[in-house]
Symmetry: C2
Subunit: 166 residues, 2 copies
């Protein structure tokens, strides 16, 4: 079934159902590894993945507003707020009223927040680095191409934005 699409006469063996299923499983297993190290660290502080994600993107784009973070993370404000409140209470995140628009809150990591960010991203980067090194630069380029093509439009927008600095 669907064993080898052809396009312009050529065989596209990499598009078989079997190949696609392997890709699906690779995503599943790899994502587990991807989150495993931070998860272990977060346990120590009684935080979860949601905290990690918030910390990551605040570090990535210091001063971003709550609304922006909301749309990057793709969750509801109630869900984010629960996480953000504990991070602010614990002194990892600072929320500053906007100068131009005083309704906005701009989010920043405190030193303590940056320290945790470094610990988390350090672990995650180490695994990434090992994987990158094992696979080589060409594989890495392909890896990023496929992932990018897999994103929803909205997410790709955020990804592109982040790609070129702030």
């Amino acid at each position: 079934m669907a064993d080898s699409g052809t396009q312009g006469g050529e065989t596209l063996l990499f598009l078989t159902d079997e190949q696609l299923r392997k890709g699906i499983e690779a995503m599943f297993f790899a994502y587990r590894g991807f989150t495993a190290d931070p998860d272990r660290i977060l346990e120590k502080y009684a935080y979860g993945r949601a905290h990690h994600r918030a910390i990551h993107f605040i570090n990535r784009q210091p001063g971003l507003t709550v609304t922006t973070l909301l749309s990057v993370l793709g969750v509801t404000k109630q869900s984010l707020n629960r996480v953000l409140r504990t991070l602010i209470e614990d002194g990892l995140v600072e929320s500053r009223v906007g100068r131009k628009d005083k309704r906005e809150r701009h989010l920043f990591l405190t030193e303590k927040g940056e320290a945790l960010e470094r610990e988390l991203s350090g672990a995650q980067r180490e695994r990434m680095r090992a994987a990158y090194r094992a696979a080589g630069p060409q594989a890495v380029a392909g890896f990023r191409q496929v992932l990018e093509a897999m994103m929803d439009f909205e997410m790709r927008r955020h990804y592109q934005m982040m790609k070129d600095g702030t």
Copy 2:
């Protein structure tokens, strides 16, 4: 691109923190896309991702035991059991007592289960196919290489096993 890395003391530009962070974000955003379509379908049936994963691997390896599925999914038996029970009650999964070892339960999809599996994997494969096609065969090879290198040992074992048929 991919003109960056060299081995043996020279600079490995694809291993910079910036490159690694882009990879991390690509994983995050892409995984969201990866699960988006099945999630929408599952809503209709009041199932969740956990049900999807169980269905996927039972379909992948019909007759696998509960213990095997447990270790593939990497969750506790209590967690899996809750999911498995509803799938069996709803007539999507059949649990047969082992012939050799009667303690074991071998899991199979019913026709109804296979129908849902097809609906779910169809959607997921479509996205995968589009991404693969957009990126091309070489990128796909790299994609798989990096993902594989990112897995934990235990998960890679399962992945490899699945790779070569049952």
